[in-house]
């Protein structure tokens, strides 16, 4: 594994290294663990936590009122029964995908630059999936009965319908969350042991000690650990590709014009990774500036993430073009009506906005200057996140708005409670993330140490 890393570095001398020169085992350990252990709480952090915590409180209010009044407080109706709840569910779960891609697929592909961003990207995944999961549960209207979604023996003698994509979705999302959590925690254990051994505070020592499960770095343990880590990566790889595939089945298995299409699975997965990398950059760029982590999260990392965004963004753009082409080529009047509704209907600005960004604006990422400029890249990422939200709105709302019968057409206007719930989850997400970077190492310490040439035994000496 490390052999490849070294040849990579040697073969591309012009490339910025994935770890700034001059670091040792000790400096890496201290730099990352000091953020948690010794740096203390900064005013900026407190300020951001107060804001995002306050915004998360809005979610609390919105959810409480929802429990009191029911889903009627949202703008949903018949025919548009899905509205914001499903738009935001798909958006959030898509964002999670980049975390798993970075931690699992890039590990299998031996991309050493992932080592400094996998930890917080995985945390991002967990928080995004939490926010995502909230929407379908609230959307059931009776969240306290959400456990009915799972198969369990009950006095009503009913069981879930396993031929429905909605049940598949329950399994896909809950498996995704569980495996992401296990993968993330497994990766954390050796670093928690490092924190336990470095902490001066007694409470911190105890808490990190318990969380680290008594990890002591035994060679036998490492051997099993690396196998398990690789297996989890191997299992997460098909999993991450499947989650948004299953989400797309919620649409594609239905017969509604604009949904019933086979391009949905790949195009949903690409869109998910696209928006996920945008969120990774939105988090990474301020973090590396605030905590002075430019040695670990280098310009090359940003550049690589931007390239991922560009590639997946173009796949999404291709999806739009093919969608249009097939609807025209098929000669299906309902499908064509759906396209015309996107072009000219009341939600046309949303559609044209996403086309402008995902077909046009994304191409700024072809320029190295954009990819290497953190501030510009940050704003590009925010714009892309907005565009992907618009895409999900277009898919969910425009298709439901006008189906086969004119008599069943309708309109959907999001209410203030729709917005409050959505914006509230943003607050929850950022508050959770801020807490995470204060109490856990946001960069994988042991995997960063592993990047050093010193981490590799000298073959010649060992075999002599």
């Amino acid at each position: 594994m490390s052999e490849n890393r070294n040849t990579n570095v040697v073969a591309e001398p012009a490339e910025t290294p994935v770890l700034a020169p001059g670091h040792t085992f000790e400096t890496i350990t201290d730099k990352i663990s000091s953020i948690v252990l010794t740096d203390g709480i900064s005013l900026g952090w407190l300020f951001l936590l107060a804001i995002s915590g306050g915004v998360a409180g809005v979610l609390g209010i919105a959810a409480t009122y929802l429990l009191y009044k029911g889903v009627g407080i949202w703008g949903i109706n018949i025919p548009i029964g899905w509205g914001f709840a499903i738009v935001n569910f798909v958006w959030w779960i898509g964002i999670g995908h980049a975390g798993t891609l970075i931690s699992a697929i890039l590990l299998l592909l031996k991309q050493s630059w992932r080592n400094s961003i996998n930890r917080f990207a995985e945390a991002m995944t967990l928080f995004a999936v939490m926010c995502a999961g909230m929407f379908p549960v609230l959307h059931t209207g009776r969240p306290w009965l959400a456990y009915w979604l799972f198969p369990y023996p009950n006095t009503m003698q009913v069981w879930p319908q396993f031929r429905s994509p909605l049940v598949w979705d329950v399994f896909a999302v809950s498996t995704y969350f569980t495996i992401s959590l296990v993968f993330w925690y497994t990766g954390l254990v050796p670093d928690l042991a490092t924190l336990r051994d470095s902490a001066k505070n007694k409470v911190a020592r105890f808490v990190y000690g318990m969380l680290s499960l008594g990890w002591r770095g035994s060679a036998r343990h490492w051997h099993r650990y690396e196998t398990a880590y690789l297996l989890l990566a191997g299992l997460s790889t098909p999993l991450v590709l499947s989650v948004h595939t299953v989400v797309s089945f919620d649409f594609a298995v239905g017969i509604v014009p604009g949904w019933h299409t086979t391009i949905f699975p790949p195009y949903f997965v690409a869109g998910a990774i696209y928006s996920g990398f945008a969120m990774v950059l939105v988090l990474a760029i301020p973090i590396r500036a605030a905590y002075n982590l430019r040695d670990f999260i280098t310009d090359r990392h940003l550049d690589n993430c931007a390239k991922f965004m560009l590639a997946t963004g173009l796949i999404v753009a291709y999806g739009y073009v093919i969608e249009f082409f097939i609807n025209w080529w098929s000669g299906n009047p309902y499908e064509w009506n759906n396209i015309m509704n996107r072009f000219h209907g009341i939600y046309a600005p949303f559609y044209w906005g996403l086309v402008a960004i995902n077909l046009g604006f994304v191409n700024v990422l072809w320029f190295r200057k954009v990819r290497r400029s953190p501030i510009i890249l940050f704003f590009v990422s925010v714009v892309i996140l907005v565009a992907m939200w618009l895409e999900r709105f277009v898919i969910v709302v425009i298709s439901l708005q006008k189906d086969f019968l004119v008599s069943s057409w309708g309109e959907y206007i999001p209410t203030r409670w729709d917005w409050a719930t959505y914006i509230g989850t943003l607050g929850l997400f950022f508050a959770a993330f801020l807490l995470f970077i204060r109490v856990l190492p946001m960069i994988s310490i042991f995997e960063m140490r592993d990047l050093l040439p010193a981490a590799k035994p000298h073959e010649a000496e060992v075999h002599s």
Binding site: F25, R216, H223, R224, V462
Partner: protein
């Protein structure tokens, strides 16, 4: 030995030697093993490739446990869906067959991944004997650096070849940074 108060046959857990680099610890581990010591362990802040093999570790069953777990998940999902759709709660939807196996594939896949992943992680920790908050090696003050930048080898006193003086002088011959007795 009766089941009364524990009798400490060995006054210490073992002897521990500290090394500076992965190369040093790997060389030393090979020598310790070649010397005939078997109840030994090596400690490092990040995985050192070849170190586990150097101290004679071969039985890594994590992959097997993961496979069994995954297959169990597959079987569980398939059996559950077939039983529910055909026996427990058969629903006629548009006259489609009750045994519509293609629609079972997704949940089969998900539970394969879920059971396999959980087996790999839980199995790994269990086979490693974790969680175990207390271990004698933590009594050595230098050992705090085992999670930072230092590498250790410990020869345990239960090893038949272990003799305090002889083992200590053998460890000294490996030129470690330090040697420490590991108390219980």
């Amino acid at each position: 030995m009766s089941h009364g108060a524990p009798v400490n046959v060995h006054p210490v857990y073992g002897l521990m030697a500290e090394f500076d680099t992965p190369t040093d610890v790997l060389l030393a581990a090979k020598k310790v093993y070649a010397e005939g010591y078997r109840r030994i362990d090596a400690y490092s802040p990040q995985p050192v490739h070849g170190l586990a093999e150097a101290i004679g570790f071969e039985k890594n069953r994590v992959a097997f446990v993961c496979l069994v777990g995954g297959l169990l998940g597959l079987l569980t999902a398939y059996a559950l869906q077939v039983w529910i759709n055909l026996v427990a709660y058969p629903l006629n939807i548009g006259g489609r067959p009750l045994y519509s196996w293609p629609s079972f594939v997704i949940v089969c896949f998900e539970l394969t991944i879920l059971f396999g992943g959980l087996s790999a992680a839980i199995g790994m920790f269990a086979m490693n004997g974790l969680p175990l908050p207390y271990h004698p090696v933590f009594n050595v003050p230098q050992f705090a650096a085992a999670s930072r930048d230092r590498f250790f080898i410990c020869i345990e006193s239960v090893d038949p070849k272990f003799e305090m003086a002889a083992t200590r002088s053998f460890l000294e011959s490996l030129s470690p940074e330090s040697i420490a007795e590991v108390p219980y």
